[in-house]
Symmetry: C2
Subunit: 127 residues, 2 copies
DNA sequence: TGTATTTTTGCAACTTAGTTGCATTAAATT
DNA sequence: AATTTAATGCAACTAAGTTGCAAAAATACA
């Protein structure tokens, strides 16, 4: 338990995740791998990689699912709590290297905070 | 321009929005109104009501679209920037009466912040 | 080795939220 | 009342994601 099998699909998909902070949408990945593997496989491999704490998923502005590399997670310890940013101009999505403090709200017990910021990325700002 | 026509559908749908802060998912609304109006009508009426600043939409944890009443918006001025809360136990979704300050992020121009908090609501906490 | 067992993959069919085109109905303008 | 405009119903569609099952690949183990 707790070790991902490095099948061909796994290796291929992992190679799409840069060490940086840029995310990939599942739709994009399915499209780009369409003549290499089935979309069901893409979904299932991403699922396993997330279970093992290698990548994490979140929803973008249009409700699509995005994945990005985890930096300090494992299957036991999922600790990647940061905002995500989506550029309205070019559509790029990235993890922000900022930590989120869970707000205290009256009469509620807050467990998670999903923060999605949108605006213009550096490239698009300077056009 | 800028005035919603109070058709039967509009009145019926508006009656589902309490003056409080609880949200309704579109799916739920479509289901509850299923023998009264077509789902396309529900989507279109919600759309119009949002355009006029009477309600606002956002995505819940499972990617569904939710709507809630706006408190200080109009068709000209959409100003309802607050976090939303989804209870993991009972599924209730509500607007939180707290304002969000847009974070400053290096090299990016942030325009909007969507914050979704999840956890336990008051009712579910005390079970 | 070779055989049995387990895991992964492909494929087709399905589910579900949301959208679109078009004809009909209702409301507002004149 | 006749004309114009906006709202609705309906059926068909789109797109993301899921499921069941059989085939293929990887692993275990005699
Ligand atoms: Mn991230
Ligand atoms: Mn709200
Ligand atoms: Zn950009
Ligand atoms: Zn609750």
């Amino acid at each position: 338990m707790g070790v991902i099998r490095k099948t061909k699909s796994v290796t291929t998909i992992l190679s799409y995740f840069s060490d940086g902070h840029e995310a990939i949408s599942v739709v994009d990945l399915v499209e780009r791998l369409s003549d290499e593997m089935n979309k069901t496989t893409v979904y299932r491999v991403l699922d396993r990689l997330e279970d093992e704490g290698l990548i994490h998923s979140f929803s973008g502005a249009k409700g699509l699912t995005w994945y990005a590399k985890c930096h300090d997670c494992s299957s036991h310890h999922h600790q990647d709590v940061h905002p995500h940013f989506e550029c309205k101009e070019c559509g790029k999505v990235e993890c922000l290297d900022v930590s989120i403090e869970l707000p205290q709200i009256n009469n509620r017990h807050i467990e998670t905070a999903d923060v999605l910021l949108t605006g213009q990325c550096d490239d698009c700002k300077n056009l």
